[in-house]
């Protein structure tokens, strides 16, 4: 039965149909939408220094982004950060990275479905303000919760149908997102931005160090999503060419927009007004624009609701594809990785992780007025944990596998023997490590539930590996070179494949001589 399942999985693998635009919008739908959620939350903590919080988080993001670009182009596998960590650091750390990412993807679904409903409620203030008491839980917004659960269900069904529909969905709305965000920034800076207001808030409303640290750790959620490009790698056409272009463009555009949004906001409105609207901060900002504000507010709300929904959609896709990759690598049971014979999508994984996301949404809403903040804490923890392991994996892979062709390399390298040590990669390890500490220090909920989530996965992993007679702390024997050859054959990047074959022959000859 098990072998039948494996054969079925091998027979019906993931389809390779994501192109440059699809890959960019897949990533942008995820990363670009983050600012719609983060702006209000970060502003509540960082006040007049909000752009500074986004800047510091952004510097870490750039380093992580470059590391991801190198690894996703060299190892185009659906596992993303989890695959890199496993290949660079071994099975156990691959599992930990996978657990952190799984937390992130499921929280992504819950948080962004919640945000989408928040923007829908721009038109229904009564829904936004509705509060009730449920047993011992106070200030619970049951209407917002019901809307969130309905959206999660919709996304689950969409993903059961298949990636073709979902990718098209992402592409169209990703383009609209770009136009909307650029329009708000251009019109805002050109016609409404008051430098005096911005400079006054920067100078007189600066937060305490603890508040700024907290804000930075929330601001990192504005940059989560590069993982999506890596996750889509196994379904991307010619990933060695497409992924570096997509990722580098994403890094620049997202960094620019994430800095521009708080800067333009603080020059148009006092920070308190944005912070008070954590559910729909961008719609509030857009409604303040001159000439077009009466139209821009509602339009921004409609588009933002849709765009953050795409981000939630990438979460569903990401979680299911991560489960597929983890099962393929022997970290979890094969049940979740089974692909539906007709739709060719991992149906079980989609349904299970959508269910987990729904449970997280319920948990968040029970925390009352801090529902979005609670989810943001978990999101930041998962992302930083996975990014920390991934940046370590970048350095480890440079040392362990210097012969694997890399279509893109992180700049600034130090040559040591035959290895090029990435200086920015090491700075990325330090940056993400510090971010993990900041998240644990400043986030009361993530401090408890984040590590519990990882421990539960580790316990399952120990049970599963023992039950299947596999090493728990060690790694399964794998022929990475053979796997790399297969990956390159699948991608159709024949130039890269040829380079790798020549390199393997050269190494074989060297070994023969010694």
């Amino acid at each position: 039965m098990a072998s039948q399942a494996v054969a079925q999985r091998e027979h019906v693998g993931l389809r390779r149909e994501v192109n440059v635009w699809g890959s960019f919008t897949w990533g942008y739908a995820d990363v670009g939408a983050d600012v719609y959620v983060a702006l209000g939350l970060v502003m509540a903590a960082a006040q007049g220094a909000t752009p500074l919080a986004f800047l510091i988080a952004g510097i870490v993001y750039v380093m992580v982004g470059l590391a991801y670009t190198e690894m996703a182009a060299a190892y185009p596998s659906a596992g993303g950060g989890q695959y890199f960590a496993l290949r660079g650091l071994g099975d156990f750390w691959g599992l930990v990275a996978g657990a952190a990412l799984m937390l992130d993807y499921t929280v992504d679904v819950a948080l962004f479905a919640m945000a989408s409903a928040g923007y829908i409620n721009f038109f229904f203030p009564a829904f936004r303000e509705f509060r009730t008491t449920v047993g011992p839980f106070q200030d619970v917004n049951l209407i917002w919760l019901a809307e969130t659960l309905a959206l999660i269900l919709l996304l689950a069904l969409l993903n059961v149908r298949g990636i073709r529909e979902s990718s098209l969905f992402n592409s169209v709305l990703g383009a609209l997102d770009l136009v909307l965000e650029a329009s708000i920034i251009v019109i805002g800076f050109a016609f409404a931005w008051q430098p005096e207001l911005f400079l006054r808030q920067w100078q007189t409303e600066f937060p305490s160090t603890d508040q700024l640290l907290y804000a930075i750790s929330i601001a990192v959620i504005s940059y989560v999503g590069l993982e999506s490009v890596s996750q889509a790698a196994q379904e991307t056409v010619r990933p060695a060419t497409v992924i570096p272009r997509t990722s580098l463009a994403l890094i620049v555009v997202v960094f620019l927009f994430a800095l521009a949004f708080p800067t333009v906001s603080l020059g148009i409105l006092p920070w308190q007004e944005i912070a008070a609207r954590e559910g729909d901060p961008v719609a509030r900002l857009a409604s303040q624009l001159p000439f077009v504000g009466f139209l821009a507010g509602p339009l921004a709300a409609v588009l933002a609701a849709t765009i953050v929904l795409i981000s939630a959609n990438t979460g569903v896709m990401g979680a299911s594809r991560l489960a597929y990759s983890m099962a393929e690598l022997g970290l979890i049971g094969e049940g979740l990785s089974q692909v539906h014979p007709r739709f060719r999508t991992p149906v079980r994984a989609v349904l299970v992780f959508s269910g987990v996301a729904a449970a997280e949404a319920v948990f968040a809403f029970l925390s009352g007025r801090r529902a979005m903040e609670t989810m943001a804490h978990m999101y930041a923890f998962g992302a930083m944990m996975a990014y920390f392991l991934s940046t370590i994996a970048l350095v480890a892979l440079r040392i362990k596998e210097p012969h694997v062709p890399r279509p893109y390399r992180v700049p600034l390298n130090l040559r040591w023997r035959n290895v090029e040590i990435p200086i920015l990669g090491i700075l990325g390890v330090i940056g993400t490590g510090l971010m993990v500490l900041v998240v644990l220090y400043t986030h009361d909920i993530a401090r408890i539930f984040g590590p519990i989530w990882v421990v539960v996965w580790v316990l399952y992993y120990v049970w599963y590996r023992r039950r299947t007679g596999r090493p728990v702390w060690g790694s399964l024997p794998r022929d990475w070179d053979a796997q790399q050859l297969k990956i390159l054959e699948d991608t159709g990047d024949y130039e890269l494949l040829e380079r790798f074959r020549i390199e393997l022959m050269r190494r074989q000859q060297e070994r023969g001589r010694t």
């Binding site: 752009p51 920034i185 005096e196 400079l199 920067w202 100078q203 060419t241 521009a260 800067t263 893109y408």
Partner: protein
């Protein structure tokens, strides 16, 4: 697509200059501390840099033809 990229690049360059110029004016006019200029200069500089990059890529493509433009992309 190229025309859109160049048009948005140009708009971003103008905006970047506007942000830096107006912030500088506010600092000189109101006597606000110079440190307040860091972020406007950074955001404005990024916008200008993005616009310049788009024009440079277009210019390189014009000089060397479509083949060179294709080869200049990361592999």
């Amino acid at each position: 697509m190229t025309a859109i990229r160049l048009a948005t690049g140009t708009i971003f360059m103008i905006l970047g200059a506007l942000i830096i110029g107006r912030s500088l004016w506010a600092v000189l006019e109101r006597g606000v501390g110079w440190s307040a200029l860091v972020l406007p200069i950074l955001v404005g500089g990024l916008m200008i840099g993005m616009g310049i990059q788009r024009w440079r890529a277009w210019w390189a493509g014009q000089r060397s033809g479509p083949e060179a433009d294709r080869l200049s992309r990361p592999k």
